[in-house]
Amino acid sequence: MELKDLLAVVAAGALVTGCAATAAETETASASASSSSKGSAGPAFPSTYKAYASDNIVITGATIFDGEGQRFDNGVIFMSAGKIVSVGGPDTVIPTDSTIIDGTGKYVTPGIIDVHSHLGDYPTPSVAAHSDGNEATSPVTPEVWAEHSVWPQDPGFSRAMANGGITSLQILPGSANLFGGRSVTLKNVPARTVQAMKFLGAPYGMKMACGENPKRVYGGRNRKPSTRMGSLSLTRQTWINAQEYQKKRKGAKPPKRDLAMETLAGVLDGDILVHNHCYRADELNQIIDMSKEFGYKVTAFHHAVESYKIADILAKEEICSAIWADWWGFKMEAYDAIPENAALLQQAGACVIIHSDDENQIQRLNQEASKALADGRAMGIEITDAQAIQWITYNPAKAMGIADQTGSLKPGKMADVVLWNDNPLSVYSRPEKVWIDGAMLFDANDASRRPVSDFELGQPGEGDVK
């Protein structure tokens, strides 16, 4: 239960987990084809995910939060063939030949989505042999892909589903590097291979980092960057190189394939979304100016504990803040974090996402959103319950480029749905059932609908409620 981000440095003088950094074996991306290289056989490492069998399901009498700010009391939701068919109030037509679930006293939300997870690339057990999240051998590694580090047997995936109702999540490289590499978006479905978890059609993301981590990791080795200005110079120079590559790639004689440059050019072309780890308000603003210098867009600032200081700017720039409800004080750049960050952003009209970066809090993003909501209300900011649910459903989906497919309960979207046994904004609530593409993959009432990873098979506590 160590802080993913940094605490290890305190105790050990060496960083071992999460957004911190440690030496990791070099992953050689052996792509024979790339999604961004024209004339190839198709996308590299294509998704092989297929939805599992689903029934026609109707839930009646539940309180429904649709993920886009709407609430239906005594609501009805109908799912069929893995899709949402209809959502509405008590007068919604209930189709025949469906399994009807009485949701009286219960709540329905879209599947919860975590925009910032290290499940699989920093899995449990968090032994050194599993430390695969930071290619901390160079501060510039846009060529690495998080999916080549993800261990599908991480027991954390099943906890995220059973306790947190997580149905989709973005796995990011860590924050040791200025350019950490590509992210991968997964459906939270147990699988033998990462490809069988990959969210079909999700755009790639690229992890970037500013602030303390890169300068600590490399400055400690007497390498660049050892300062924030060093970080910015190296980052800008890399973008200059990427612009040249992008230009050549569009020319008559395309350059030799280069994995790093393919990712960066993908960002400049608008195909790959930038997820930028950055804490301090002044640095967020520097990154915004850098993105304008090179003509790319920052989709979301992650861990942006000081977003509230520039909420007006973030609203204007339409950049999401992916944040914790109340983490603070674990390092200098997290010292000014306040629990009202989310509410102040919402008040300013900026995009709020509650994220985890943690194998524990991914199990209760609903509770984290609830705390952030309560802290906002306590200072007089009016936010509805349904808006707080949007922080952990539609808004992360939007930042991951999958909002047209999931993240809210709109007809035609994937039937990624959680039935909660109580209000998900209450501490006394837990998921009762979780559907992914209409397939019921968790049922608290049925021990056989609780996934058990290979790692936990035959171990003490196998199949326990956890």
Binding site: G329, I338, S370
Partner: protein
């Protein structure tokens, strides 16, 4: 989590000397005594001279009491954090502000947190405002298996945080102990035994003491552990490590053991109960963080409780210097388990006791702290609702009968940036 009502307090007020203890009657609230009994509606709590005089429905209000109407509110003992590093850390990664351990010190068991706990640290004010009033403060370990003396502290705004110094000794005997001792559990256990035996040698003739394992000060610090006058808090997680700790009393029969962490405690709950060893357990650990945590489950505390183990919630290595305000959320989650088939949680009353009277009792201070029974220190919190619920806010906090300021720098930052756009002058003038 639990926030305070908006108050504007000047920097001067922050520096002010806290008010003296007064006679206070908090009337009409839903009162939770904290001893595991059910809440009482419309009850009164009377505090005088820094102590609870009475809490109940038939309590007379003294004529000289300041009356506080708590109708529609909840009134509870302050939250007692069963295991923490509060006051030892300002900024975790800023080493000069982090006093949890001293890997470069020549001392181990003799290190004493009472000299390091900083009552003016920002985390103390933040967690006080959230309703946490007392805490177990433990060192972590440097290069020895022993971390040193821990203390019981209050989170009051006054300058003396120490309720009980040298309240316990802390030792690592699980995976961390393996590492500290040089690379195996065998090494950890022989080191433990050797240090205690050499401490006995020290007690026979202090002037001749000469040990490769420790300084005389460390030996002296271990004597009250050996004779059981000081508790020994032992961090272990795995079922087997727990059993090996219980076995230590074969060689050292007077040890007053308390287990910390104990993620696999449920698997050996009967043995822990039979040994009458209490546990300060992590509430929501449910992943195999390491091989010592293979069977971790959120049902751990509930199952140990059912087996008769004396158990409270602690937060070892879990944001334990900054986020004691998670205590209420954690307790609430254990209540939530009651609705999950095959899971074992705690009743609401038990859950609140696990963050109030239970840790106080386990630390031997149940007659002084952790509940609203007559004679206990006047640590009282008034909440807007159910203190375990996420939407609930803190209205007032009393420590030793003194009403506390709820102001802190998070609140000040919030107010400065309520409107982020600078006005006629820069934000730096806005306070």
């Amino acid at each position: 989590m639990k926030r305070f009502v908006t108050t504007f307090v000047s920097t001067l007020a922050l520096m002010a000397v806290p008010a003296a203890a007064e006679t206070i009657a908090i009337t009409g609230g839903k009162v939770v005594v904290g001893d595991g009994s059910a809440p009482m509606d419309g009850a009164t709590v009377v505090i005088r001279d820094g102590r609870v005089v009475a809490a109940g429905t038939n309590v007379a209000v003294p004529a000289d009491a300041r009356r506080i109407d708590a109708s529609g509110k909840w009134v509870t003992p302050g939250v007692f954090a069963g295991f923490s590093r509060i006051g030892l850390v300002e900024v975790g990664a800023v080493r000069s502000t982090n006093d949890t351990n001293a890997a470069d010190s020549v001392f181990s068991a003799a290190l004493d947190v009472q000299y390091a706990v900083n009552p003016f640290a920002a985390p103390v004010a933040v967690n006080r405002a959230a309703g946490v009033t007392r805490a177990v403060v433990s060192p972590s370990t440097g290069k020895s298996i022993f971390g040193g003396y821990g203390a019981i502290v209050d989170l009051g705004e006054d300058s003396n945080p120490i309720t009980k110094a040298k309240a316990f000794q802390f030792v690592e005997l699980g995976e961390t102990g393996h590492r500290r001792a040089g690379g195996s559990r065998a090494a950890a256990h022989i080191l433990f035994r050797a240090m205690l035996n050499e401490a006995r040698t020290y007690s026979r003739n202090p002037s001749l003491f000469d040990s490769d394992l420790m300084k005389a000060s460390d030996a002296k610090a271990l004597l009250p552990v050996i004779n059981g006058s000081t508790r020994l808090l032992v961090h272990v997680e795995s079922a087997n490590d727990i059993l090996k700790v219980l076995d230590l009393r074969k060689d050292f029969p007077s040890l007053k053991l308390v287990l910390v962490g104990a993620n696999e405690g449920w698997r050996v709950a009967n043995e822990i109960a039979a040994a009458k060893v209490p546990v300060l357990a992590s509430a929501l650990s449910d992943l195999p963080y390491s091989f010592e945590d293979l069977s971790a489950t959120q049902s751990n505390i509930g199952r140990m409780k059912q087996a008769g183990v004396n158990v409270a919630i602690g937060m070892i290595n879990d944001r334990d210097a900054h986020q004691l305000r998670y205590s209420m959320q954690y307790a609430g989650n254990l209540v939530a388990l009651n609705k999950v088939p095959r899971a074992t949680g705690l009743s609401w009353d038990e859950a609140f006791a696990a963050i109030s009277s239970k840790p106080a009792e386990i630390m031997g201070m149940g007659d002084q702290l952790g509940s609203l029974k007559a004679g206990r220190k006047g640590d009282v919190v008034i909440w807007t609702g159910d203190p375990l619920e996420l939407s609930t806010q803190v209205e007032s906090v009393f420590i030793d009968g003194v009403e506390q300021s709820l102001s802190n720098r998070q609140e000040r930052l919030r107010e400065r940036y309520r409107n982020p756009t600078p006005g006629a002058l820069p934000k730096a003038y806005d306070r």
